[in-house]
Symmetry: D3
Subunit: 290 residues, 6 copies
């Protein structure tokens, strides 16, 4: 972490050098030890920061520059390899501190399970919280072959915690039959396959609400995001995902935190997925941190 003087890692482009003065805090959660398929997302945050250097600081979409938003890059949270329980505790404790200090938490995964403690911590502060979730997968299992701490369970756990009717999933194209049934029976919103159109319908109903947004990069089609652990064809384009971010930016919801997870540079080509992740983070910072 970067709070002490000896920090020696790289940071996101145009991040602010001072924690106290910053409105938002970016941090990495380099955990991938519960994934059932291909690991490697632990290297996502480092690589996203590295390629962010090549980004322009200005968004022609939002006509805004990064220096207009003060955000601090805290580096990666040190997590104990192979110990998911303790890792999640470390993340929650870190995010609680950020929230106590009035910062907007901006997380980079790591596997999707890392979003769970963040959302729990945010819910402690905002009890009207709604979750907007972009993903190829439901992530609604109760456990994965007996393990409750799994990359396949975070949305189920947070839905049970804050109420399924407060969770809105978009772009979903894979899951167990039981997961879809559970969602339907419990009033959770799932938009299968599509993102932008159903999002535009949902956003007005969330006007004035505090919202946490969690994006699994695999909501994109593998052709546009090969650098991830579980590829599943039939996803959306970066253009649609950018438009969805801008739709939220233009809506009346109040984004109180967000993350982007599951970037695994090992499987990438031409650093395409890391670059896309960096650009998405830039757009979210510029559009959502007000």
């Amino acid at each position: 972490m970067r709070f002490d003087e000896t920090y020696s890692g790289n940071v996101f482009i145009k991040s602010h050098p001072n924690y106290e003065e910053s409105k938002a805090v970016l941090y990495g959660m380099p955990m991938d030890w519960t994934v059932s398929y291909r690991p490697g997302s632990r290297f996502g945050p480092t690589r996203i920061r590295e390629v962010s250097i090549g980004l322009e600081e200005y968004s022609p979409y939002l006509d805004r520059e990064l220096e207009e938003v003060k955000f601090f890059d805290a580096g990666d949270i040190p997590l104990p390899f192979g110990n998911p329980k303790k890792s999640l505790e470390e993340i929650k404790s870190f995010v609680r501190q950020l929230l106590a200090d009035g910062k907007v938490p901006i997380g980079m995964g790591g596997e999707h399970l890392v979003s769970l403690p963040v959302m729990e911590a945010v819910y402690e502060k905002h009890d009207d919280l709604a979750i907007i979730h972009f993903d190829a997968h439901t992530d609604l299992r109760t456990d994965y072959e007996g393990e409750p701490y799994s990359h396949a369970t975070p949305i189920r756990k947070i839905a049970e915690h804050i109420g399924p009717h407060n969770v809105y999933s978009f772009g979903i194209r894979s899951g167990l039959k039981e997961e879809f049934i559970w969602a339907k029976e419990n009033g959770m919103h799932i938009s299968k396959f599509e993102v932008l159109e159903p999002l535009k319908e949902v956003l007005p109903t969330l006007a004035g609400r505090n919202v946490y947004v969690t994006i699994d990069i695999d909501v994109l089609d593998p052709g546009h995001a090969p650098g991830t652990g579980t590829v599943d064809c039939g996803g959306i384009t970066p253009k649609e995902l950018l438009a969805s971010i801008h739709a939220i930016a233009g809506s009346d919801v109040n984004v109180v935190g967000f993350d982007l997870v599951e970037v695994a540079p090992i499987y990438d080509v031409s650093e395409m997925t890391s670059n896309t992740a960096a650009k998405l983070i830039r757009e979210m910072i510029l559009g959502w941190v007000k």
Copy 2:
């Protein structure tokens, strides 16, 4: 092959362990020795099976699970390296047996030439047969630099065999001028560039017909299917191809056999093309084997 006890290869997810009880039979045709450009599709079937393990067994598109359809995975047909003539004979003889046993043949290539003996065998059984063909290439040559057994000739040969007016090609974006002219003059259907819209127009005219469907993975744009021998930009997205499969599933044609060919894992990135192939096969099994 897997009929004897000593079979030691992997099989497609949720394939049924018993041949007799199965309605359909999946098999690999690992031949790539006549291709003029980049070989490697011989490894397609093995890799597709391998990655199929990561697939969900449930289709949220069709609301159906793989265990609802009994299909047997027979492994790969042993083919003599470098001997196309004998290879095609082996394939035809194998498929004839499947048809005699009342099974729906589901093939995985291999180069596109492997589809020819399958279609010939299916035509022996169903003399009203129509072919639906998704591809970037016409495959309508009479020969390739003097060789009649070539990956560039199978559609021409089957068209001459069953009558060109019974062949419907979609998504075509490459071929010789003569091939397009031959198709036009002989009443064969070719939809250039597009797939879904023209397919929806054609399907009603095929209502009640027995149909064999052959998909060359390169009908997809290379961005979505790099793992193939001959890339050619300007193709469709996986979303459109999935929708086309579902359109056939929802139509009144009777699919009596199908295949997916030209997956070459060597050129793939992030196992994207193999995963896409596995998902397409799942959707075709769930949608077409009734």
Copy 3:
């Protein structure tokens, strides 16, 4: 270069063996030494020629074959490594000769800066010149960290040279705030994000004009063109770019030269980007050289 007898490199498919008899001349400009991010486009022209062998000579889009257009492949212009000033002089001098001989210049980059001397030479001949520019980036800087010869400056320099109102950029999604402001204040046309629709609006206004077209391959989304130095998500598909080329072919502008730049094979997968570049060049030759 190929004018002397000892030329030993490969050439583009169906290029004409004789310079004098040819209407157009294809040449490579293998320079990448001013790029700020990832080099490698020096190998673009060679690889594009190599994969062009796998192309069909016939375009089903335009119903025309390469042998209907005589174009000569002159090989790569020899450029001094690490010396941009001298390299640009070599390019300009070469293109001047082509124009003096009445040939249509067709360039392959190399980094985008190579287009500058070509456009300058073309402007010497055609003083009513308009530029059509497809790109992800504005390329409108005056300098890059003090260096005026940079891959980030060519459009600015040519705009100042021929008048900003004669420059039409499409697909732009990255740049400095100042660049967008400069373009607006100086009457230059920029279509952000989109290409085909705004192009169709602009083309009638250019009827009868002499036009040079410069395409940076990164106007495509990285999913469709990973083989380039600076990837930036949110781009268009090859289908849209092909349609744009055909729109120009069908319009009343007079294309007096064109180029395709920034193909960097090192970052490519399955030779997808090189193949796409070769096909785009085929379509431009068939559609624009009349």
Copy 4:
């Protein structure tokens, strides 16, 4: 696992189809969740089996064929993702069963920590056990950043369990200063950098002893084994490692079990490391299972 009828994975070339009749049992331990650097060895066993198909069954080194040794391939032990404690218990319990049935255990990792429960189980049966250990790394830490279950600790733990003077490490070129000091002070054998010569000196002193051999593939130089998580230059060649295996085969030690760990196919090129692993396993089976 392969004991039940529904097993559907691939197996090592020429493995025997019957457990009861076999003298040795090959099994995979697909765990990589405690590694501090690059994960991916979970896919080692599957890929090694896959490429083993290309191996010759005959060893010209030992003049012996695989069919002369009956070994059963039990597939991979199912391990709970992200739960090292439970994973190690599963492994130990499985190996205890093998030993109770009189089989020689042959393990494929997975990370090196998987060797620990195997060695513990073997020690329960053979209380005179000595360990021969080939590795680039000492693996002698007491814990890794507080976690006792780590890929950096297995040799320390087994050394404390069976007595450090019964452990012989070869090829070591990386570790903490404290690890080397601990080894020296506690009478454990470490041959730094070299393998074959010191091994030949040690083997006569172990004559008649029961020995377990554990090989971390990174004892090879990265040039010969890129497909592993932690590369460290200065290692030995495959030729030397083969000669070391043959030296053990020709000695008077009694090999009661062995493993090969840390093959991570994701980082491999040309399947070189997996092929090397398969060949090493063939030689160990032919040389050591008597």
Copy 5:
């Protein structure tokens, strides 16, 4: 082929532009259709020529420059895809012509089977012919699963043709037990595992003989030559192979032809194997063509 005027491929560095004036002729045999494992060597000759451009023309080993030896690069022999019988006939007929014209044939594969017709043609001219063979594999099968034309049979066939006692294989580390037995019983020389030392012993016994040398690149360890179809660890280093070439150059044998086969660029990294092949060819030309 390059004898006609329209040749448009690349050529080996410093090859002579004129066939008649040349002493030796370099040609590619781009066939890979009988291989049982991984295809791709059809692209070997093209890539070797391409990277040869980066070679120095001077050998500090032999103190000789390429311009001191006139050799013509004839391009690739056009071979019918998937038709091994006809392909071998084309090769033999081409080489017969070279020999009739008094040229030294220098072949680039392609799979190893391409060497067979060349050796047969050379034997027609030199009935005292001896073969020196560097390889990881025996290549002594009579057939491969029933196919006599296979990459596993060329040495057997030529040995039966010219007499097994005239064939000298070096570096062999893989084969069937029967192959080794056949060699031994029939007086053929096989040096297992090693190359340089046994070669130095054999060369004096061949003094004054006409010799054809065939090198399968997989005689090198995969760490040094990943770009080949069948990797097999335990091979020699490029340093040893260079020394072996120089040993032949310094001996009293008369090299009447030679080839280098099985380079498959698809599996290569950093173009290492192609570069090595180009350098080996340079050294063989400089050392053996007198």
Copy 6:
């Protein structure tokens, strides 16, 4: 650069946070714009730092830990893309400052030309300077196709500057005939092909001398260092290079500066070359900075 507060890049493992207190200074020279073959070494320094995190801090070769040597990591020197002249001036000026402050300069390239201004600056301070040079290439050209600033010229230029008899090259296996002749006629030492043995002979003759050591990573065989621009087989192993570094450490020369150049991560596999570079730098720091 890292002297100001806003530095945001990563640093080498265990580098000291304070410039003033440090004895040595590590810096990157990310220039690759004069290379004639494959660029990409500009990314070497960043990647070497990144992978250094995985290194052990202790050397079992030298029994010394990094914290025993205070060295500061100054980051990369900002260099103007495509302007070699100005780039070399920036480097020289930076190194002069280091020397004025009494620091040992430790450079990371970048292409080999970056060593020239460093050696010139070191010579200004130590007029008895000798150069020890490990490389595959002579680098003794006067110019490269007319350009004096080229990656092929630095050793010639420094040899002319400090006297050829003060330059000792080892491992050389490529160059023009003229270069070898020039070296011989001018009393420069070149050991062809070999490194360790001739180095051991030379070192005693340099006892008491101030020495600068420059290592081109391509002195290693490509099998051990694929991540470089110009691969050339026949090189040494990392074991031999480590032994050479340790031989210098054990000799009586006084190393007053050193560098490691030409690491190009784009062509690497498994980060092997970057890891090797980081380990070599650790050994040089531990062995040479006293």
